[in-house]
Structure formats: C-alpha cells, structure tokens
C-alpha cells in the first residue's frame, strides 16, 4: 500500500500557495519579456544574416553559431557570474540596485532563443518570391524598408508554427533561472517542498503552471494566426 498521505491543501491555500503565485508572476514576466525580446532580436539577426554586406553577415553567423551551440544554463551562469567582472563600476552599481538575477536570466533567455528564432525567420524570408523584393525596390523602398513593410510581414506569417515552438521552449526554459536564485515558479515549488516535504504536490503545481502557460501561448498564437493573419486568405 501507499504510505503517503496526499495533502493538496498545502499548494491550494495559505502561505505556500502565495509563494507559488508569486513564482507564477515571475515566470510570466520572464516569459513575456523573453518572448517579445527574443522575437525582435531574432528579426534583426535574420535581416543582418541576409545583408549584402559581408561583415554584417559574418557577425550574424558568428552570433548564431555561438549562442545556438552552447547550453542555456552555461549562458545564464555566464551573464550572472561572469559578465559583471567586465562591466564598468557604474553599471554594476546600477545592476546591484535592480534585480540582477532577473536581468541576467532574461538576457540569457532572449539571446539564446533569438538565435533559433532568427533561423526560423530567415527560412521564412527565403520562401518569399524574389519578385516581391523587386516590386518593393521598384516602388522606391530601400532594402530595409522593403524588408519592414513587404517581406517580413509575409515571412512572419509563414514562420508562425516554428515560432510557437520557440516561444514554448522559452517559457519552459525560464525554469533554469532558478539556478541563479530567480524566484520563479520552479524555485518556489522547491521551497514549498523543502518546507513541507510535500514534493509530489509542489511539483504537480509547478507542472500545472507550465502546462497552463504553454497551452495559453499556443492558443493565443492560434487565434492570432486565424483572426489576424489568415483572415484574408481566400
């Protein structure tokens, strides 16, 4: 027989519930800022990678290879333990007064995920017929404006499904932020477990949070795809 008494009340009410809720808020913040930042940075890197200027292309390639091919955990440690040693004093002071753990985690998540997003967007851009660029340039748009108004809006539509994957990865990867002391939901679940020894309940709660977050992201992107992007597709 099972020698374990389930006690769900520890995670559904009281102090520990509040811990989990505050963890959920941090996880949501990490994910939201991370997704927006990684998407925008990914766009920039994708465009740089397709630039006509070789040095820019090389820079973008180096960025992609570097950040795609090193573990996220190492990158988080790098920003948290490594970066402040080479930053100016003034920046350090400012960082110490803000939430440095959070900042380091968000920066690492954004940079790491942007490398994958850039490659997804680039393949989207490559799938747009070159005549679209010709039409835009013929109208008098510069290369960057053509990208902005004509190519990227079409490329992003094609890129939505792989983007959803990257957004989901980012939301789940935000749990690694606990390793540098960001009090997000996994961190709080650990805390609840240490205080109550109710590991099953605590991590079930964390699991439900991530599941809910992922389903929300997928649903929102689905809605966006259907209502905004494909409304006109005959």
């Amino acid at each position: 027989m099972l020698h374990y008494n389930f006690d769900w009340s520890v995670v559904t009410s009281g102090k520990y519930f509040e811990w989990l809720v505050s963890g959920l808020k941090v996880t949501l913040e990490l994910s939201a800022i991370g997704i927006v930042g990684a998407f925008l940075l990914g766009l920039v890197i994708a465009v740089l990678k397709m630039s006509h200027y070789r040095p820019l292309r090389w820079m973008a390639s180096a960025y992609l290879e570097f950040f795609r091919n090193t573990p996220l955990l190492v990158q988080i440690f790098f920003w948290y333990f490594g970066s402040y040693k080479i930053l100016p004093m003034a920046v350090n002071d400012w960082l110490n007064n803000t939430n440095f753990e959070f900042a380091a985690a968000v920066i690492a998540l954004i940079i790491y995920t942007s490398a994958f997003i850039a490659e997804d967007i680039r393949s989207g851009i490559l799938s747009i017929p070159k005549e679209q660029m010709e039409a835009a340039r013929s109208a008098g748009f510069s290369y960057l404006r053509s990208m902005q108004y004509i190519i990227l809006p079409q490329a992003v539509r094609i890129t939505v499904p792989p983007l959803v994957n990257q957004f989901l990865n980012l939301a789940k990867n935000s749990s690694l932020a606990m390793t540098i002391g960001v009090m997000e939901v996994t961190y709080q679940a650990r805390q609840v477990e240490s205080y109550t020894f109710k590991g099953f309940e605590a991590f079930t709660a964390a699991t439900v949070v991530y599941l809910g977050l992922s389903v929300t992201i997928t649903t929102l992107m689905d809605l966006y795809n259907k209502k905004v992007l494909n409304a006109h597709r005959a």
Binding site: E131, Q132, E134, A135, A136, R137, S138, A139, G140, F141, S142, R145, Y149, I150, P153, Q154, R157, H232, R233, A234
Partner: protein
C-alpha cells in the same frame, strides 16, 4: 527623358545588352519587341536599375544611373514599373497595396492617399475591389491594380515588362485599354510586349531587338508595313501567323 549610350550588360559570359543607343523623349510611348532572349526585358529593367549596367551611360529623368551620387531610391519613386507577374503584395488589401508607397515614401497623409487610390481604382474600373486581397482577383484585375499602384506614386515614367503575357486572352484587352488611356495623358512609357495591335495603335515608335542589339527603330506603320531587317521580317511573320 531616358538616354542610353553604348550600354553593355553581361550575365557572367552572356552578353545580354551589346551596345544599346536609345533615346526616349518626354511623353513618348516606345514599344520594345523581339524574340525571347533578345535582351528586351533586361533593357527595360536597367532603366530603374533592377539590373545595373556594366558599361556605357544611362541617364533617366536627368539622373545619371552610373553616378554614385544618384539616389537610386529617389529615381525609382519617379519611375513606375509593371511586372509580367503583377507582384502585388499578397498580405495587403487592394487599397493598401496602392497607398503603401505614397504614405511611406512620399509621406502623403493616409486620408489623402486613400482618396487618390480610390480615384485610380475608378480609373482602372476596380473601385468595388478596394477591400479585396490580390488572391481574390483575376489576373487581369491584378494587373490593373498593379498599374494603379505604380501610378499612385505620380511617376514621370512608366515601364511595362510584358504586362499581358501572363494573362488569359480574354483579359488582355482590359489591361491594354488602361495602358492606352494612360498613353493619352501624355505619360512617357516604355512597353515590352508582343501585342502588335497595341504597338500599332498606341506606340510612337517601335524598337526591335535581337541578341542584345537594337536592329530596327521605326514608326509603327513603317515597321509593320516595311520591316527593314530580315530578323524583324521573320519575327513579324511568326507573330502574325504562328502556324507557318
């Protein structure tokens, strides 16, 4: 308005434009024809530098295309280009296809740009399609929108690269009619086309090209009645009775 002088262009080893001299005057309608691979599409694409030239000089609307100082985007804003495959922006409605460049490049206020776009849509007979998307239109309708889109920038020159070649026969007429109306307004036009009826009725001059060289330049009537060059005679014969 457009002045080619000794223009050469190579694609790798292929000599596509071999010493082109051509002068298009303001308000003139010039039809360029010739067999496929003759360089006529390349020729028209050099005028707004979709294809840069390798040698010679090309001056368009007073701007020297070979000079580094020329702002190519400014030049392109003054030159409308209509493609064989229309190339409308599929993610934008008909109205937004037309207003995009005027609002972003000319900084025309949105309301004014939309009024102008509607006037242009009236002119090409598609006002009812303002909210449609390109995929919902027939080829002929798409090409008329593409012409309206180019005209929205109030260009000084209009270039047409085989504008009816991708259309079903029954739609060719509606596009040619729009172009004919445009020619009547005094627009400077260069048209690459096989539509000899259009050339005869609308063109001021017909240019016949083969192998990257202009072989013949004449008034339409002279060109059709009495072509000088053997290649031109052969081309016309094939075009008018393809079965023989």
């Amino acid at each position: 308005m457009i002045q080619f002088q000794g223009v050469h262009k190579w694609f790798k080893k292929l000599h596509v434009l071999n010493g082109i001299d051509l002068h298009v005057k303001p308000g003139e309608v010039v039809v360029v024809c010739g067999p496929s691979g003759s360089g006529k599409s390349t020729l028209i694409r050099t005028i707004n530098q979709l294809e840069p030239i390798n040698e010679g000089s090309l001056v368009v609307d007073g701007m020297d295309l070979c000079s580094k100082k020329t702002d190519i985007n400014r030049l392109r804003a003054e030159v409308g280009f209509v493609f064989q495959q229309f190339n409308l922006y599929p993610h934008l409605s008909v109205l937004n296809n037309i207003t995009l460049a005027p609002t972003k490049i000319r900084k025309t206020p949105k309301k004014e740009a939309e009024e102008q776009a509607m006037a242009l849509l009236e002119r090409v007979g598609l006002a009812v399609k303002r909210d449609a998307y390109p995929t919902q239109l027939s080829g002929g309708q798409q090409q008329r929108v593409a012409i309206a889109r180019a005209l929205a920038m109030k260009p000084r020159i209009m270039l047409f690269d085989e504008p009816t070649s991708a259309l079903d026969p029954e739609m060719i007429g509606e596009v040619l009619a729009v172009m004919q109306d445009l020619a009547k307004t005094g627009m400077t036009m260069v048209v690459v086309t096989h539509e000899m009826g259009f050339a005869r009725e609308v063109a001021d001059r017909v240019v016949f090209m083969d192998h990257g060289v202009i072989l013949e330049e004449a008034k339409p009537l002279e060109f059709f009645k009495n072509p000088q060059h053997d290649r031109a005679k052969q081309f016309l014969k094939q075009l008018l009775s393809p079965m023989h």
